[in-house]
C-alpha cells in the first residue's frame, strides 16, 4: 500500500537530513552571504569596560589587569576560541596586561596560551610583559577563597616554571584587587563563584564569554549589574571582532553558515509537525468512523 503523504514526510532518512546540514553549512564558505550585524548591548558594554581600562593604563604607572578565567576545553573551542581571541586581540592592541588561569579545565590555559602567542606575534608583544599564564590550578572552595585573599599563596610559579614574583608583568598585581575585570570563558557554569566570593569583597567586575547555550542563564546577573558584559556564542564573538576591527577572526567567518543552518532547523521542525498534525487528525477520523460503524 502506498504511504499517505503525511507519513511520507515524517519518514525521511536521518542520513539525508545530515547530508543537507553538511551541504547547507558548507555553502556560505564559498558563496558569501551579506552580514548586516548590530552590536548587542551586552557586547558593547564589555568592550567599553576594556576600553575604560585601556584609557586608565595609558597614563598610569601601575596598570590595571584583566584576568582570563579559561574554563573551556577543546569540546567547546568552536565558541570559546573566537571569544578568547577577540578579547586577547583587544587587550594586546590596547595595552591591557592579562593573566590566563583555570580552576577546572586543564586544557583551557594551554589553548589560550596558543591564541595569545599567535596574536602577540602579530603585534610584537612579549610573554611575561603583556600576559602571564598561571596555568591550571585545581582549586576547591577553600583554596579559591585563599586565592582571593592572597594570589601569591596559591600561585608560586607560572606554567614555564618561572617564579611568579619575577615575571615582569606581575609588578602591576599585588593582590586580586589590582585585577579590574574577570573575563570568564566557559561552556558550562562556574562564573557564579566569582560573583559570590570575589566581587562583594573587592568590587572587581565580572564578565563572561559563554557558549550560546548558557547565555540565557546569565541574564539575571546582567540585569542586576553583577556582570558587566557578555559575549554570547559565536555571534557575540563576531560582534566583538567587529568592534575590535579583527574581521578575519573565526567569529565573523562562521556567521554566514549560521543562517542556512537555522533555516534548515526551522524547516525540519515545521515539516515534522505538519506530518504529525495530519497524522493525528487522520487517526482521530478513523477512530470516529470505527465508533460510528460500531453503533
Amino acid at each position: 500500500m502506498k504511504k499517505p503523504w503525511y507519513e511520507w514526510i515524517q519518514s525521511i532518512d536521518r542520513r539525508i537530513i545530515y547530508l543537507v546540514v553538511f551541504v547547507l553549512v558548507s555553502l556560505p564558505f564559498f558563496i558569501p552571504i551579506p552580514l548586516p550585524m548590530d552590536v548587542s548591548e551586552q557586547v558593547q558594554k564589555l568592550y567599553n569596560k576594556v576600553e575604560e581600562i585601556a584609557e586608565y593604563n595609558k597614563t598610569a604607572k601601575k596598570k590595571k589587569v584583566v584576568l582570563f578565567s579559561m574554563e573551556w576545553d577543546p569540546a567547546v573551542q568552536a565558541e570559546c576560541w573566537p571569544q578568547t581571541e577577540a578579547m586577547a586581540e583587544h587587550c594586546l592592541t590596547r595595552g591591557v596586561p592579562f593573566i590566563l588561569f583555570s580552576r577546572w579545565r586543564p586544557e583551557g590555559p594551554t589553548l589560550a596560551q596558543q591564541i595569545a602567542e599567535k596574536r602577540a606575534k602579530e603585534h610584537g608583544k612579549k610573554y611575561g610583559e603583556d600576559w602571564v599564564n598561571f596555568g591550571y590550578k585545581r582549586m576547591d572552595l577553600p583554596a579559591f577563597l585563599a586565592f582571593i585573599k592572597d594570589i601569591y599563596s596559591q600561585v608560586t610559579k607560572d606554567t614555564e616554571g618561572t617564579p611568579i614574583r619575577t615575571v615582569p608583568m606581575m609588578k602591576h598585581v599585588e593582590s586580586i584587587r589590582d585585577v579590574d575585570l574577570i573575563f570568564h570563558v566557559t561552556g558550562s557554569v562556574g562564573v557564579e563563584q566569582w560573583i559570590q566570593y570575589l566581587q562583594p569583597e573587592t568590587g572587581v567586575d565580572v564578565s563572561i564569554g559563554c557558549t550560546a547555550i548558557i547565555g540565557p542563564e546569565m541574564y539575571p546577573y546582567l540585569d542586576s549589574g553583577q556582570m558587566v558584559g557578555m559575549m554570547e556564542g559565536l555571534s557575540g564573538a563576531a560582534q566583538y571582532e567587529r568592534l575590535v576591527g579583527h574581521l578575519e577572526g573565526r567569529g565573523t567567518r562562521g556567521m554566514g553558515s549560521q543562517n542556512l543552518a537555522h533555516f534548515w532547523i526551522i524547516a525540519m521542525m515545521i515539516l515534522g509537525n505538519v506530518g504529525y498534525v495530519f497524522q493525528r487528525r487522520r487517526e482521530r477520523l478513523d477512530k470516529q468512523r470505527v465508533e460510528m460503524s460500531g453503533e
Binding site: P200, E201, I213, I214, E217
Partner: protein
C-alpha cells in the same frame, strides 16, 4: 564580604524553618506535598509497559555522586519497586563508577522487597563510562529491547537530545526530571511529561516519603515565601518613591543593605 546584620537575620529566617521542619518531620509530623503531575505519568508509563510486556529503561545521564545523583538513585529505587511488582524488566545504564554500585543495590533491594529476586539480573545494570558512549549505549538498548517506557532522572548534559529523540522514535512513553535547566527544552518537546528544576527534589521527597527531604521542602517553601514577601514590599516601596514626593529613597533597600 562578611555578614551584615540583615544577612544574619535573614539567614536565621531562612535556615531555622528548614531545621525545624526536618526535625519535626522526623518526629512524625504529617507533611503535605502537592501532587506532582509528572509522578502520575510514572504510574501510567509502568502500566503501559505492563500491557505491552516490554522492558523499562531508567537513564540517569551524566549524574555523579552528589545530591542530585542520590535523589536519582532514590527515585530509581521506587521505579524498580513498581517494576518488580508488575514483573517488568528494568534496564539501568550508569556512567559513574561511584554511583554504579549504589544503583545495583537499589534495584536488587527493590526486587527482593517484592519477593522477586529471581527476576533481578545484575547484567541489566550496565556500566558505560563517557558521555557519548553512554548515549550510544542507551540508544542501542532502546532499539534492541524495544523499551516501552523511558525515565530520565538526574543531571543531563548534551546527550539529552540524543536520548529523547531515540525514545521518541521507538514510541516509548517518556518521563523526565532534571534540574539541568539547559536541557529541559529538549525533554519538554520530546517527553510526555517533564519535571522541572526544583520540582525534582520535591518529586524525590514525594516518592520516598523520607522525612528529612519532606521537612526540608517545607522549610524551603517558607524561605521562598519570605523572599516573595521581600520582593512585594520592595516593589511597593519603589512605587511609593515614584508616587509621593515626600518619599525620597526606597526603605526596603536601605533596610536590606544595613
Amino acid at each position: 564580604m562578611h555578614a551584615t546584620y540583615t544577612m544574619l537575620i535573614l539567614s536565621t529566617l531562612f535556615c531555622a524553618p528548614i531545621v525545624y521542619f526536618i526535625l519535626a518531620a522526623r518526629k512524625g509530623r504529617e507533611i503535605f506535598i502537592r501532587p506532582i503531575a509528572g509522578l502520575e505519568a510514572i504510574d501510567e508509563a509502568i502500566g503501559r509497559a505492563t500491557e505491552m510486556g516490554r522492558p523499562v529503561l531508567y537513564v540517569s545521564g551524566m549524574t555523579y555522586l552528589d545530591i542530585i545523583g542520590l535523589c536519582s538513585m532514590a527515585i530509581l529505587g521506587q521505579v524498580a519497586k513498581m517494576c518488580a511488582r508488575y514483573d517488568l524488566r528494568l534496564i539501568v545504564p550508569m556512567t559513574s563508577y561511584l554511583l554504579y554500585p549504589i544503583a545495583e543495590e537499589a534495584v536488587r533491594e527493590a526486587y527482593a522487597g517484592e519477593g522477586k529476586t529471581d527476576l533481578f539480573n545484575s547484567e541489566d545494570i550496565v556500566y558505560v563510562p563517557g558521555q557519548f558512549p553512554y548515549a550510544a549505549a542507551c540508544v542501542g538498548i532502546m532499539h534492541r529491547e524495544k523499551v516501552a517506557a523511558n525515565f530520565f532522572f538526574g543531571s543531563f548534559a548534551a546527550e539529552s537530545l540524543i536520548l529523547a529523540e531515540a525514545g521518541n522514535q521507538v514510541g516509548a512513553i517518556q518521563v523526565a526530571g532534571t534540574i539541568s535547566t539547559m536541557q529541559l527544552p529538549f525533554f519538554i518537546t520530546a517527553c510526555d511529561y517533564t519535571i522541572i528544576g526544583e520540582e525534582y527534589y520535591a518529586a524525590t521527597a514525594y516518592l520516598t516519603k523520607e522525612p528529612t527531604m519532606l521537612g526540608s521542602i517545607v522549610g524551603q517553601d517558607i524561605g521562598k515565601l519570605t523572599m516573595t514577601a521581600l520582593i512585594v514590599l520592595g516593589v511597593i516601596c519603589s512605587v511609593l518613591v515614584a508616587w509621593l514626593s515626600s518619599v525620597h529613597s526606597n526603605w526596603m533597600i536601605e533596610l536590606l543593605e544595613r
